[in-house]
Symmetry: C2
Subunit: 473 residues, 2 copies
């Protein structure tokens, strides 16, 4: 990426000054006042200018009549004016020397009307002609906790290593939530809607060189130039793993894409083969984006797909094995010394050399868990580990045990470099109290650098994707 | 089912007297003392006898030296003695006139040893010869909240309409949790392990005639007689929907089955075609068993698979449509009067006649939700409805709205006979507080008779299965 382009992006994501163009006198929900309120709440440290043609003052702050009237060329302008005025505002931005712009306004191609399509083409023409970097239209824009650039962040924000590029504002907001509560944190997130000017490859080029970003999640509905996207994505993916969710796979979904971002979802089989050739990890939900990204961030590269599962309950063992096989992992029987040593510790393993190992005691006795794991760490025939963890509570098999989670977490934090290792803490059952307890326990694991998942399928999928990535790359 | 057989089952599930055979002097975790403690905690109103050859007294209660010494033939005996003594205890039961027996003990076929296999065959021989009804071995046994027969229920139990048959004790416990917190309740649950004597078709025959049971969930790893199972399952399914989860689909899973219940999982393609021919709804997780059962319990039969989705957020609309298509539902564009009327209420629907309808206002304005739904209720081209519901909280689009959930729930409870209608209340994001809030809100919906799911895929799958059932039956 050229130096000038990179510097523009730096100013976009770490602005010292912002203008909110088209802020209304009163609060109207999603719009300029909403951005202002959230930036203030987030403690944004830069200067905020308001632009309103007639108000003079809004919320006790001076309002400038136009962009031209601003005392400086801001690093980033939010545009909230009605669709038909947007291209005129872009011209003004150019005149003032404002290069980075986010357009919240909708009413463009996503309407499917000739007028909407024409307005969007006009935006694109003006922007390209004048070298403007434009996010949107029809989107929530940038989100960077490190800069307190959290214009729609009513959720606590944490700075971290995961970037997220998305054509859905809702999903961008939700990933900021996951980023905070898992402790992974967000480096940069961008909701970029219709992608009239900047498209995913542009952001990817920047993120590839961004020191704060280590893994990149994407929710895409379309790309303007498929060939360029795949070329850039392939290149970036070798350096920083991409985890991509494509919306609009089915005909109904593609119809919804047209009316959401006014773009063409494209044939899914074309996407499938392109992504496969480019070696990109493809997922199918936000939880999978988050879960797979977390595995990339926290785990050492697995040497293969042979999984060891330590849990409790024979039924669990059965369907855990089914799920892992189905996502492409292997759950081999134990052999040799591992078999002997684990059979001595878990008698039921004996005759079958079973894996998953069904050992309730490992839930509440960290020393016992440790003894089993140390055997597994030594076995070159086992590449990765899933630990099933119960929420400390009364269960029929461990009625009155004290919470030993911290000792387990401490041991795992120390020893996680040995082999890729994740935890499952399942709070299903619809008990509100346990749902909260399970989320809290997962948080403790994640914040100690041990990926923890609410369900085994999510854990297995994350491991399978990470294993596939390192086999390819 | 013959009258005598039925009466035996009635006594098994509603016992007036229970013997705990092989209870130890001290508490040792899973075992006789554990059953005693839980029956007392549950307020079991019948008589409990303890049997221990030498103790004389346990926990302040008289302990009888043998079953023969009991003052009466109990309705149900729990057997907790070591494997090698079980068949002898069965002989004693026969001598005393005890017909219903649950065997907790393990150490049988699941070990894969010649001795284990022989001990299990001996149990089977003695039981069949003497007409004993035996649950197990190697399992948690029966669970009937209505009778306070909750020998392992440390979770609050609710009596209700869902029966559950399972070869996993862990899953049986977990379904009791779902049953309580969703308010569906459990009629009878049986963890029956190795199924040496009574097998799933036996329980099914009884449940078919059980007035308390309206829907039957199953977790099976094997059946002894596949032909009989399919014949019985087909017949019962016409009367009361079955929702079946088969463990051991893959080779790893089948290996785990052998060491869990000592049974043969069978070829999965044989199961698949058999279940399909018998018209049984097949699922692949406990959450799907629960979610599908709830749809069967609460919804009027859908007339087809054409789904209307009311939610918020354009990205959601896209992947919601993808998910629904993939499970076999249709998400048709709106047409005719529906299109006109909904376009008037939700301007963005306009040119695309989009479905899912993206209307944030419906989250917090029950009157608006109602206006949209009343149009949908009238449209013969739309068969079923998914409502996306937010947890009342601050979000970027509805920052400071009051909680209007109760008005929405009241309206939906009144109007749910019009069309099958379910809600999605997603608490993902790993915020412990919101996880609990979401579970609570789902609870309020479910207890009002409106199935509520933690994710759209679960809701869509449940609707797809219910629609398929009524198309077949």
């Amino acid at each position: 990426m050229e130096r000038e382009q990179k510097e523009l992006f730096e100013r976009m994501f770490h602005p010292k000054s912002i203008a909110i163009v088209g802020i209304s006198r009163i609060y109207t929900g999603l719009g300029g006042q909403f951005f202002l309120r959230n930036l203030q709440r987030a403690g944004f440290p830069g200067t905020i200018y308001l632009v309103n043609p007639t108000a003079g003052e809004i919320s006790g702050m001076k309002a400038y009549p136009s962009i031209s009237a601003l005392p400086q060329a801001v690093d980033l302008a939010f545009i909230c004016v009605p669709a038909q005025f947007v291209s005129q505002v872009l011209e003004e931005c150019h005149g003032k020397g404002v290069r980075n712009i986010h357009i919240l306004s909708s009413g463009f191609k996503e309407l499917g009307t000739p007028e909407g399509i024409q307005l969007e083409e006009e935006i694109r023409r003006v922007s390209i002609q004048n070298g403007l970097k434009v996010i949107g239209p029809n989107c929530m824009g940038p989100y960077v906790p490190q800069s307190r650039l959290m214009p729609w962040g009513q959720i606590p924000g944490t700075a971290g290593s995961l970037a997220f590029l998305s054509q859905s504002g809702t999903l961008t907001q939700r990933i900021s939530e996951h980023g905070h509560f898992t402790g992974m944190g967000i480096s940069k997130a961008v909701s970029f809607g219709n992608a009239a000017v900047l498209d995913s490859p542009d952001y990817l080029e920047y993120l590839a060189e961004d020191d704060d970003t280590r893994v990149i999640g994407l929710y895409l509905e379309s790309v303007r130039d498929g060939r360029r996207f795949l070329e850039v994505a392939r290149r970036v993916n070798q350096k920083k793993p991409l985890v991509l969710w494509k919306g609009g796979e089915t005909s109904s979904g593609a119809g919804a894409v047209a009316s959401h971002t006014g773009t063409m979802a494209g044939e899914d089989r074309v996407w499938e083969s392109g992504l496969k050739q480019a070696g990109i990890s493809r997922v199918r939900s936000l939880e999978e984006v988050v879960g797979t990204a977390m595995a990339f961030l926290y785990l050492p590269p697995p040497k293969g797909r042979r999984l060891f599962i330590l849990g409790g309950g024979g039924g669990n063992s059965v369907y855990y094995a089914d799920i892992c096989m189905r996502v492409g992992l292997q759950v081999p029987s134990l052999t040799g010394e591992t078999r002997e040593q684990i059979s001595a510790m878990v008698p039921s393993v004996g005759s079958f050399a079973r894996n998953p190992v069904d050992a309730w005691r490992a839930f509440h006795d960290p020393d016992y868990m440790k003894q089993i794991l140390e055997v597994v760490f030594q076995d070159p025939g086992l590449d990765m580990i899933i630990l099933d963890r119960l929420i400390p509570r009364m269960t029929y098999a461990t009625p009155e045990k004290k919470d030993t989670s911290q000792a387990a977490i401490d041991y795992l934090r120390e020893n996680r470099p040995h082999k890729p290792l994740v935890a499952v803490v399942d709070g299903a059952g619809e008990d509100p109290y346990l749902a909260a307890e399970a989320a809290q326990l997962r948080q403790r694991y994640c914040r100690a650098g041990i990926p923890a998942y609410p369900s085994l399928p999510l854990a297995a999928q994350a491991l399978a994707r990470v294993a596939a990535y390192y086999q390819r790359n």
